[in-house]
């Protein structure tokens, strides 16, 4: 079905919902590269005005990638919560925005309708929202997940400790982990991107973190971010897998490029659950996403990159993940050119993920060929803190020496907690205080306790 809007006798026509969504998207280089973005400023606003008048019901009858050819479209349609859709089924996209912003729409109401919102509805409403709208609505949503600790509670803010090393050297990785723990990082997960997907190397790292965790009785979870098939094989060998990781995208074809399908993810999810390693909860999956991944795999079907990203969240929510984060600035300037585009995309991803019911964190990051720097990341980190983001990365000095990009540092997390009065995950904070890393007020202790540095010898072994 086609859509149109007329401004000063000029009629703007959009051939279908897919084209309308693309042209209504705030400008980013990836959509221009795909040749699907609006050609003028005015055309973009015309598309947004037209989109604001589209009834939410249309999104159920007009799929942007055919049901027959894409298993994610099938997932979106088949899992849609019709019963709770009643609350919002009479709205247009524009009215939906106002309902989301309304003071009567609180945390409970938003939780109630999460499964009644499709990714395309979330993407659509985000396109007509300003940054402050994205923050104001996301802030109302609370998505709490549990494994050995509790992530996502209001007033709390966690980090994934990311101790990567270019050759997966266990000692080098352990050094970064200890440094991070000393700065109160790692409550979301200690998550290592391995340089090699070799199962033995992965197993070595898993065993290392497991020994550290049990020796010091730290209420955290670990993850080595290898391919899901590698993890699945390790689970069969009874490896100490806490969280199962996978990168996911929003089209079947893009996921095929990642070497995954919904069936494989289901298998991995069930296998990880069978290990029963969570002590207070059963959220065992960790997903990463990022705008532009479908386009870079030439698997976007002419759908704009932000809508593709939102569709990836429908994959994530099927598996009740512990953590989901968009690696927003990693992909490079041909998709998100500068600090402004990265910031906008990050706020969209956080908003859409939360609206769809996901425990969203963000990798606040950039590469050296993007038009961005630490100041842009400071701004974005602060905005995400206000928006109630569940977690960010904690990388030593912001410099990931394996992946060669810049993310947030251990210090950044402390800054954000301090200026916004946020606490680590409650179980982890208790541990930090018990080990005198934090003082009783939850601030970094005056005198660093180095107890954890003693008896490290056992950790170096094997």
């Amino acid at each position: 079905m086609s859509y149109h809007f007329t401004i000063d006798h000029q009629r703007y026509q959009f051939n279908d919902l897919k084209a309308l969504l693309a042209k209504a998207s705030p400008f980013r280089t990836g959509d221009a590269l795909a040749n699907i973005s609006a050609r003028t400023y005015k055309e973009r606003v015309a598309a947004q005005l037209a989109l604001a008048d589209v009834p939410l019901k249309n999104f159920l009858s007009e799929t942007i990638i055919p049901y027959e050819t894409d298993e994610i479209t099938r997932l979106i349609i088949d899992d849609h919560d019709m019963a709770n859709f009643i609350t919002i089924d009479h709205f247009t996209v524009g009215q939906f925005r106002e309902w989301l912003l309304s003071d009567e729409t609180d945390t409970a109401k938003l939780h109630h309708i999460a499964a009644a919102i499709t990714p395309e509805m979330a993407a659509a409403v985000s396109k007509i929202m300003r940054n402050q709208d994205l923050i104001a609505v996301a802030r109302k949503i609370e998505v709490v997940t549990k494994f050995r600790n509790t992530i996502g509670l209001k007033g709390h803010f966690a980090t994934r400790l990311q101790p990567n090393h270019p050759t997966d050297d266990p000692k080098g990785i352990l050094a970064s982990i200890i440094d991070g723990l000393m700065y109160g990082n790692g409550d979301a997960v200690i998550g290592i991107n391995p340089a090699s997907d070799n199962p033995l190397a992965v197993l070595k790292l898993l065993a290392l973190i497991d020994r550290l965790r049990t020796q010091f009785d730290i209420p955290i979870q670990s993850c080595v971010l290898s391919h899901v098939s590698t993890t699945l094989n390790l689970i069969r060998k009874q490896a100490p897998i806490d969280l199962c990781f996978q990168s996911i995208a929003g089209t079947e074809k893009a996921n095929h490029g990642f070497g995954i399908s919904l069936a494989l993810l289901t298998e991995a999810h069930e296998a990880t659950l069978s290990l029963k390693r969570g002590t207070i909860g059963n959220n065992v999956m960790y997903f990463e996403t990022g705008q532009g991944s479908a386009l870079s795999a030439n698997a976007h079907h002419g759908v704009d990159q932000q809508t593709c990203e939102a569709r990836a969240y429908s994959v994530a929510r099927k598996f009740n993940p512990m953590l989901v984060n968009s690696v927003v600035g990693f992909i490079g300037p041909e998709y998100l050119y500068d600090g402004k585009q990265i910031t906008r995309a990050a706020l969209e991803d956080h908003f859409c993920g939360k609206l769809l019911g996901l425990p969203m964190g963000m990798d606040v990051c950039y590469t050296n060929h993007a038009e961005a720097d630490q100041d842009d990341m400071d701004n974005l980190l602060t905005l995400l803190g206000v928006a109630g983001c569940n977690f960010v990365m904690g990388v030593p000095g912001s410099d990931d020496i394996m992946l060669n990009y810049q993310s947030t540092s251990f210090h950044d997390a402390l800054y954000l907690r301090k200026v916004l009065g946020l606490k680590p995950a409650p179980e982890f904070e208790k541990w930090l205080i018990a080990h005198q890393i934090f003082d009783e007020y939850g601030m970094l202790a005056k005198h660093t306790n180095l107890g954890i540095l003693k008896n490290l010898d056992v950790l170096w072994k094997s």
Binding site: H165, L174, I178, T367, H369, P396, D399, Q406, S409, L414
Partner: protein, 251 residues
């Protein structure tokens, strides 16, 4: 400076032994909860070096005159990209020669065995510092093996796949492209070399073999030249490149 280092920082105590275990930025200390001044500015310096590398132009004249003194002809070519801003936003245009360069190249001698291309990529600094050193070691090996060499193509604002079009126009059996890699904080001058057998437009990365991190302090020019020559021999012998060709070079 020492005084500056100590302002507001906690003593590092035993952290120093951890710092020896990794190049990661650990044991930084803290001012309040923030990174101390010197570390904060050191980080900025590393980023500035990386940014400058992205915007450094390739020293084409210097490179071509060095090649000339080595009796190697070269041809300067341009991609369809207008400037760096467009280069960063339109990888598709960086993979294609502009019209004029396409014509210039069509007049060159064809049906050679190997064409060597050199492109700025994301760090012309890497090319300015490393390209000639590798070429002067590699070319004699190629000549000794009796493979004919096309004019060396120096490409401004080029991406890896532009060597496909160049190889296709020249009808070369095999193309190499020396290209500046995305600069990191620890190294802004790393060069990569991509090898493609029977280059033609439309190929993807799985048709290529790659050697990366060529720089002083990384993979040396000598080792890089040996490795790439080994890969050329393998590719010529098996008439393939890419995922079907494993890099089993023993250094």
């Amino acid at each position: 400076m020492e005084e500056l280092e100590n302002v507001g920082k906690q003593p590092l105590l035993d952290f120093n032994f951890l710092k020896e275990l990794t190049d990661a930025r650990i044991g930084l200390g803290h001012a309040g909860t923030s990174i101390p001044t010197k570390e904060s500015l050191n980080f900025k310096l590393a980023h500035a070096q990386a940014r400058d590398a992205v915007y450094t132009p390739m020293a084409i004249v210097a490179l071509s005159s060095k090649l000339e003194s080595f009796s190697l002809p070269s041809t300067t070519l341009y991609s369809k990209v207008k400037d760096r801003t467009e280069y960063l936003q339109r990888p598709d245009l960086g993979r294609l020669l502009n019209q004029r360069s396409t014509k210039v190249l069509s007049d060159e001698i064809k049906n050679c065995d190997v064409v060597i291309c050199v492109a700025d990529g994301l760090s012309a600094l890497a090319i300015n510092l490393n390209a000639f050193d590798v070429i002067k070691l590699l070319v004699p090996k190629i000549q000794q093996a009796n493979w004919s060499l096309a004019t060396i193509c120096l490409v401004m604002q080029g991406r890896v796949a532009i060597a496909d079009q160049i190889g296709e126009i020249l009808k070369a059996k095999l193309s190499l492209i020396l290209i500046g890699e995305r600069p990191g904080l620890s190294a802004a001058d790393s060069m990569g070399i991509y090898l493609t057998y029977r280059p033609k437009r439309g190929l993807t990365d799985d048709s290529r073999n790659c050697i990366s991190s060529i720089r002083k302090g990384g993979l040396s020019a000598e080792l890089a030249a040996n490795k790439i020559f080994y890969l050329i021999q393998q590719a010529m012998g098996k008439r393939i490149s890419g995922t079907g060709l494993k890099d089993e070079y023993e250094s």
